[in-house]
């Protein structure tokens, strides 16, 4: 196969990984080659699906001995197969980088021979880039389920970010669709990396080790597990392994789908979007999973954002006086983001905040209005109205994915 054909096959096979982030790494590596990471990720292009292209995201190979039913590269699928050599991946990365197409490499792989062998190959590519070529750009490596701890740990010496996909919300889902994988095995990779990160944390002479931490991805909509299970798993992973990000990937139809998977039409993009919003509430707005998706309502509403949905169910929390309330309460107001809250906190130190000020801050005032008291406004009976929801689900909300 020509290099271009391999590239076509092995980037097509990699597109089901949602992450293309190159942020969170702000380290100065030694080396004479090209490259820098200065903390902020850069998207060098966007594809027509609205996704950012920041990294050369490819598989080393799409041969795989596993048979995960949702995956286009599973052993029982009859897609075309290809495999890059180490030198080909290294050269593509460097040449793309030098033309400023990319921030670095995101390398994953089907599992060939066994987990250890595959992990070794990935580490070898990262090592070659760093050591032989002095490459200082961003590297994201997948850790391979079932690989030895030592190999998984070694990856962190060369990579900026490590990840292993948790794949599905529950262990039962895995049993059903990914028979060679299980939760303890996947979490073991995360724990192994987190242990090493913890060992180096606060140590002055520690080597540069996975400075952009860990992330993972969960496929949504391939099994009936509700949003509550999705978010409980995400929350557990955030807290147990200090993950930087959980990515949600709406199950996407693949070529040659496994007969065991019900034929699904389009990926449930709106659900994915709501999960990102809920994830944001967990990480930045101080919500607990049980507040967002209580046992009695295990699915996120699709017709409005999850913060508005919570506000509607918890009207006694409101109105919030924006001139007096604490930051935590302000963050719970529908239509306010962290930036709006920062502006409010800043402005109210020097003057009383009025409705017109909120308007100038360009927050979603229509949504917020029913829930706040300002120097010149109170929601009055608006909060008690039965049709309050009408104000919260503005027509034509844009589907803007949070990736």
């Amino acid at each position: 196969l020509h290099l271009a054909e391999k590239l076509a096959i092995l980037s097509d096979a990699a597109k089901y990984d949602a992450s293309c982030a190159s942020s969170g790494s702000n380290v100065r590596r030694a080396g004479k080659g090209v490259g820098s990471t200065e903390g902020m990720g850069i998207c060098h292009s966007y594809t027509p699906d609205g996704r950012c292209v920041s990294l050369l995201k490819i598989l080393l190979t799409n041969y795989c001995i596993f048979d995960c039913k949702y995956c286009i590269n599973r052993i029982s699928s009859n897609v075309r197969r290809a495999r890059f050599s180490v030198a080909e991946v290294v050269s593509l990365t460097l040449e793309f980088y030098k033309r400023n197409y990319i921030e670095g490499l995101f390398l994953s792989s089907g599992i060939i021979r066994d987990s250890d062998y595959t992990m070794e190959q990935l580490v070898e590519i990262a090592r070659t880039l760093r050591v032989e070529h002095g490459f200082k750009g961003y590297i994201h490596l997948k850790t391979i389920p079932g690989a030895q701890d030592e190999l998984v740990q070694k990856a962190g010496l060369f990579a900026d970010r490590l990840s292993v996909n948790i794949e599905l919300p529950t262990d039962e889902d895995l049993r059903e669709l990914a028979p060679e994988k299980n939760r303890p095995q996947l979490e073991r990779n995360m724990a192994t990396v987190e242990n090493k990160l913890a060992e180096f944390r606060g140590e002055k002479k520690a080597p540069i080790y996975a400075p952009a931490g860990q992330s993972t991805q969960m496929i949504v909509g391939a099994t009936p597990s509700p949003d509550r299970e999705v978010l409980r798993t995400a929350d557990l992973l955030y807290r147990s392994y200090r993950l930087r990000r959980v990515y949600y990937s709406a199950f996407s139809p693949i070529q040659d789908a496994h007969p065991g998977l019900a034929v699904r039409a389009r990926p449930p993009l709106l659900r994915e979007h709501r999960l990102y919003q809920a994830d944001w509430m967990l990480r930045f707005y101080g919500f607990r999973v049980d507040e967002i998706v209580p046992l009695a309502r295990p699915e996120l509403a699709l017709d409005m954002d999850p913060k508005s949905a919570w506000a509607l169910q918890n009207r006694e929390f409101f109105p919030v006086n924006i001139n007096k309330a604490g930051k935590e309460a302000l963050l719970r107001v529908p239509g306010f983001g962290t930036r709006t809250v920062q502006k409010i906190l800043r402005l109210r130190r020097v003057q009383a905040v009025r409705l017109d000020d909120l308007k100038k801050m360009r927050c979603a005032l229509e949504r917020a209005k029913a829930f706040v008291v300002t120097a010149d406004h109170t929601p009055g009976r608006l909060l008690e109205r039965a049709d309050l929801a009408r104000y919260l689900a503005p027509a034509g909300e844009q589907l803007e994915l949070a990736l």
């Binding site: 290099l3 271009a4 590239l7 076509a8 096959i9 980037s11 097509d12 990699a14 597109k15 089901y16 004479k32 080659g33 090209v34 820098s36 902020m40 850069i42 998207c43 060098h44 292009s45 966007y46 594809t47 027509p48 699906d49 609205g50 996704r51 950012c52 292209v53 050369l56 995201k57 593509l92 040449e95 793309f96 030098k98 033309r99 400023n100 197409y101 002095g134 996407s252 139809p253 693949i254 070529q255 040659d256 789908a257 007969p259 034929v263 039409a265 389009r266 993009l269 502006k343 800043r346 402005l347 130190r349 020097v350 017109d356 000020d357 100038k360 801050m361 589907l399 803007e400 994915l401």
Partner: protein, 247 residues
């Protein structure tokens, strides 16, 4: 009225210090980029001022193409120094909002330059032609120096060009697009990558346009594929779905 002619943040900074010393209020200053009448600000003692946040916002806004930027900067500085110390906290004040907006637009343009410069290799040099929205070349070129220290590169733009030969970062006059190479053999591989990393089942051109300003599309080689990819997307998904149903 005093006429003042400045080019760039450092010059503005000096002039503003002098004007403060002379207690010249903003409505008595006429800022100009290239005045036919020259300038009539006499050299002399300058008032020292130090405000980290104003410095950060001002040095960014100074790169903005808006003609009112010098006037705005001096108005804000004047107010900060004359009993409105908390002006920058008044995030809804019209002057503060305009300053913040200009600074944000410049930062965005710096970011776009980091993202959308595309080098083409010519011998041992890497050359790009880029069209920034604001005057951000000098503000952004050091980033390229840090990143591509081991390469020789040039970034040509209509106003200013930047050159790095492995030793020294130099600036020169603006250059036309025709001064840069017309292609690079790597571009066909890059386009192959772009076409295949895209998932036709998730097509969302609106999100794409929001994040990638159209002004840069004609210097991005992969954008040549856009129409074909969008046209083909629906067909690819339908084919996949019907194949799966039959299978």
């Amino acid at each position: 009225v005093i006429r003042v002619q400045v080019d760039g943040w450092e010059e503005w900074r000096k002039a503003a210090g002098r004007l403060l010393q002379l207690e010249q209020s903003p409505d008595q200053v006429l800022w100009a980029e290239n005045s036919l009448f020259g300038e009539d600000l006499s050299p002399g003692a300058e008032q020292e001022w130090n405000d980290a946040e104003f410095e950060r916002l001002g040095s960014a806004a100074a790169c903005h193409r808006s003609e009112e930027r010098w006037d705005l900067l001096y108005r804000v500085l004047w107010r900060l120094r004359n009993h409105e110390e908390t002006l920058l906290e008044r995030v809804t004040d019209p002057d503060t909002m305009l300053l913040v907006r200009m600074a944000r637009e410049v930062e965005r343009d710096c970011h776009d330059m980091k993202a959308y410069v595309r080098f083409r290799k010519a011998g041992e040099w890497y050359v790009a032609w880029h069209r920034p929205a604001h005057r951000v070349v000098r503000r952004t070129a050091p980033f390229f120096m840090r990143r591509f220290r081991s390469m020789n590169w040039s970034i040509l733009t209509p106003d200013t060009s930047a050159y790095w030969d492995g030793q020294e970062l130099r600036y020169g006059p603006g250059m036309p697009r025709s001064a840069a190479p017309a292609g690079d053999e790597l571009e066909s591989l890059w386009k192959t990558y772009y076409a295949n990393i895209f998932n036709p089942a998730r097509v969302n051109p609106r999100a794409m346009q929001r994040d990638m300003p159209k002004r840069h599309w004609n210097t991005l080689p992969e954008m040549e594929l856009l129409d074909d990819l969008l046209r083909g997307a629906e067909k690819r998904v339908q084919e996949m779905e019907s194949a799966n149903k039959e299978g």
